[in-house]
């Protein structure tokens, strides 16, 4: 039997990693993040030539502000959806909260990290990774915490008069500091290195990991990338739950196109953001 094909029927098999709900949330997160960063970072680097270029291109500060607020609503929407799902997951006991299958960090992540560092410097084999790696958990929870901070401070500044009715006006100063710094941090983490590299830029998935767009990866890829989860599922007989025949070719092509276009856009956006930040430093 060749790897990745069903012995009986001879069809290609895929590993279904993300449900429609989670992919939908990633699409929302991605869209709102691009919109927010591209209309927000120019405010921080207001003296950069590229800030003015983009703001004028979008149709002025008012248009940029409108886009920023629209994207903020989308951002809050996916945050509410994701939090709602989390509450539902815990309340309805959909699955274990801790352990191999969970996004909650555990002892294994610490060992994996040590293992990866040993591997980086050639002192050991690459650790067998589980369903969610430690860098994926970092991405997820950093985004979660960041959304609370940035979203909260953003709402305060969106409704300054209401905020000032509850808190002294100096709270708006604090909100601006939090919003500006935390958003810049998030941009750095997502755009410049951690997320774009660790999720999409590693040789296994370069230039983009299609799995978050389509929901599945070829089974052989999965076995290579998540050996521990594969082993576990093989042992307890739950492999059938996640391995299915590949979708028809037009659907696969569609997701390849989406992934390609998003990657191109992401690359341009990241380049633009870097230019914008670097410009005041060099000019």
């Amino acid at each position: 039997m060749t790897m990745g094909t069903d012995a009986k029927e001879g069809v290609r098999l895929v590993y279904r990693r993300f449900s429609t709900f989670h992919r939908f949330n990633h699409y929302l997160a991605m869209l709102s993040f691009f919109g927010l960063v591209l209309t927000g970072i120019p405010l921080k680097f207001k003296e950069s030539y590229f800030s003015k270029l983009l703001i004028d291109g979008l149709g002025g500060v008012e248009a940029a502000g409108f886009i920023h607020r629209t994207m903020a609503v989308i951002n809050i929407l996916y945050f509410v959806l994701e939090t709602g799902y989390m509450v539902y997951y815990v309340a309805a006991r959909k699955g274990p909260i801790f352990g191999d299958d969970s996004i909650v960090p555990g002892k294994k992540d610490w060992q994996d990290m040590k293992g990866m560092f040993r591997w980086f410097f050639g002192r050991g084999p690459k650790p067998a990774l589980n369903r969610f790696t430690y860098w994926e958990k970092f991405d997820y929870w950093a985004l979660f915490a960041g959304t609370i901070l940035i979203g909260g401070s953003g709402l305060m500044m969106w409704f300054p008069e209401a905020t000032a009715r509850l808190l002294p006006g100096v709270a708006l100063n604090v909100a601006l500091v939090v919003h500006s710094n935390e958003a810049f941090l998030a941009t750095g983490v997502i755009f410049i290195f951690v997320h774009f590299f660790s999720a999409h830029g590693r040789p296994e998935s370069f230039p983009a990991d299609e799995v978050i767009f389509s929901g599945y990866i070829p089974v052989e890829h999965y076995i290579h990338e998540r050996p521990l989860e594969y082993e576990n599922r093989l042992k307890n007989g739950t492999l059938d739950q996640v391995v299915t025949p590949a979708p028809p070719a037009p659907r696969r092509r569609l997701f390849r196109w989406i992934t390609g276009l998003v990657t191109l856009f992401a690359f341009l956006a990241a380049t633009y953001t870097l230019l914008l930040i670097v410009w005041p430093l060099v000019s």
């Binding site: 207001k46 703001i55 560092f117 008069e161 006006g169 100096v170 100063n173």
Partner: protein, 352 residues
């Protein structure tokens, strides 16, 4: 009737013009004057009916009185003046109380020139003058003549024309920088990082600049928690309350003059930013070099295999030909038992 005659002008049938030759000459002369007079007058007479610019329009025109600080320029740029809001006024509209004598004007020595200047503005702008009278600027001026007067902010011969409430973002920014910011440099430098100014510098003209809050001529001090401040905030933020005025406007970049809470939050997040970025970049670099080496390794192995394959093909063809030739000579020696070296030997053996 008249309309019809005009409509059929020139008269049909080759009729002569209805004017005798002497009148025609006059008409020509008057027309010539009418055409060329505005051009002549535009540069000299209409702009400067009093002839002041004959001397003051010369860029090198200076006060001849000996001055240890060097000569004072008395030049007025005619083009810039013409473009200014007062471009159609005569010089003497504002410069009153001068007795014209050449070469030097006699000044009314009993009055300070600044007082003359204020009075000149007051004669046309009494309301603005009354507002100015209540201001801290005026108080300082009347105390020891050190405070700014009208021309300190507005300039004199190049006052721009603006429509109140429709100023461009660039204008508002340049007012803050060049007018208010000339004396209040520290305040401007601080306000520059402030939210309203960020929007202004990106071209959002409704955003407030100095005078939108502090007033044009009253220059209100605007302390937090005061009724007056609430009133000023409400011009743009109708729901502003007393608490709203505790927003801190003129903060420096490191928030050193801010409330300690703002500074603490700023320091915390700046540290977090640096730590996360440094650790993140270091981690990614380490991870990347490992993966890149792997890519190079795969690539290298691939290339090695490719070249090995080509070489193997060549060897195979040599063996083929050897076999073809060797079949006729001897059959005991079969190639391919070893690696490269035996194949090589075979080739040599064939030649010998």
């Amino acid at each position: 009737m008249r309309v019809r005659r005009l409509g059929s002008w020139p008269p049909p049938g080759g009729r002569r013009l209805p004017w005798p030759p002497g009148v025609r000459l006059w008409v020509l002369a008057v027309a010539l004057v009418l055409v060329f007079l505005p051009a002549l007058a535009g540069t000299a007479w209409a702009l400067d009916p009093e002839g002041c610019l004959i001397c003051h329009g010369d860029p090198n025109f200076v006060d001849p009185t000996p001055d240890p600080n060097g000569p004072t320029s008395l030049y007025v740029n005619p083009q810039a003046f013409k473009k200014s809001v007062h471009g159609n006024n005569a010089c003497s509209t504002c410069h009153r109380g001068f007795v014209l004598t050449i070469p030097q004007h006699q000044l009314d020595a009993t009055k300070d020139f600044r007082q003359v200047a204020i009075e000149a503005c007051e004669s046309c702008h009494p309301n603005e003058f009354m507002q100015y009278q209540t201001s801290t600027h005026a108080k300082l001026y009347y105390q020891d003549q050190a405070g700014p007067i009208c021309i300190s902010c507005h300039g004199s011969h190049e006052i721009r024309r603006v429509r109140l409430g429709q100023e461009s973002a660039d204008f508002k920014m340049s007012m803050a920088r060049d007018s208010c910011g000339r004396c209040h440099k520290d305040k401007f430098e601080k306000a520059k990082h402030e939210f309203h100014f960020k929007a202004l510098s990106l071209g959002y003209s409704p955003a407030a600049t100095c005078f939108d809050c502090h007033g044009f001529h009253e220059n209100l001090a605007l302390k937090s928690g005061e009724e007056e401040t609430v009133r000023q905030c409400r011009k743009c933020h109708p729901g502003a309350t007393k608490g709203f005025t505790y927003f801190q406007m003129h903060l420096d970049e490191g928030f050193e003059n801010a409330w300690w809470g703002v500074r603490a939050v700023y320091l915390f997040f700046s540290t977090l930013l640096i730590v996360v970025l440094v650790v993140g970049i270091a981690y990614t670099t380490v991870h990347m070099q490992k993966e890149t080496r792997m890519i190079l390794g795969v690539l290298g192995r691939g290339l090695g295999r490719l070249f090995g394959f080509i070489r193997a093909l060549e060897e195979e063809s040599v063996r083929e030909s050897m076999r073809a030739r060797g079949a006729t000579e001897e059959t005991g020696k079969e190639p391919g038992a070893g690696g490269d070296a035996p194949a090589h030997d075979d080739e040599k053996g064939g030649e010998v």
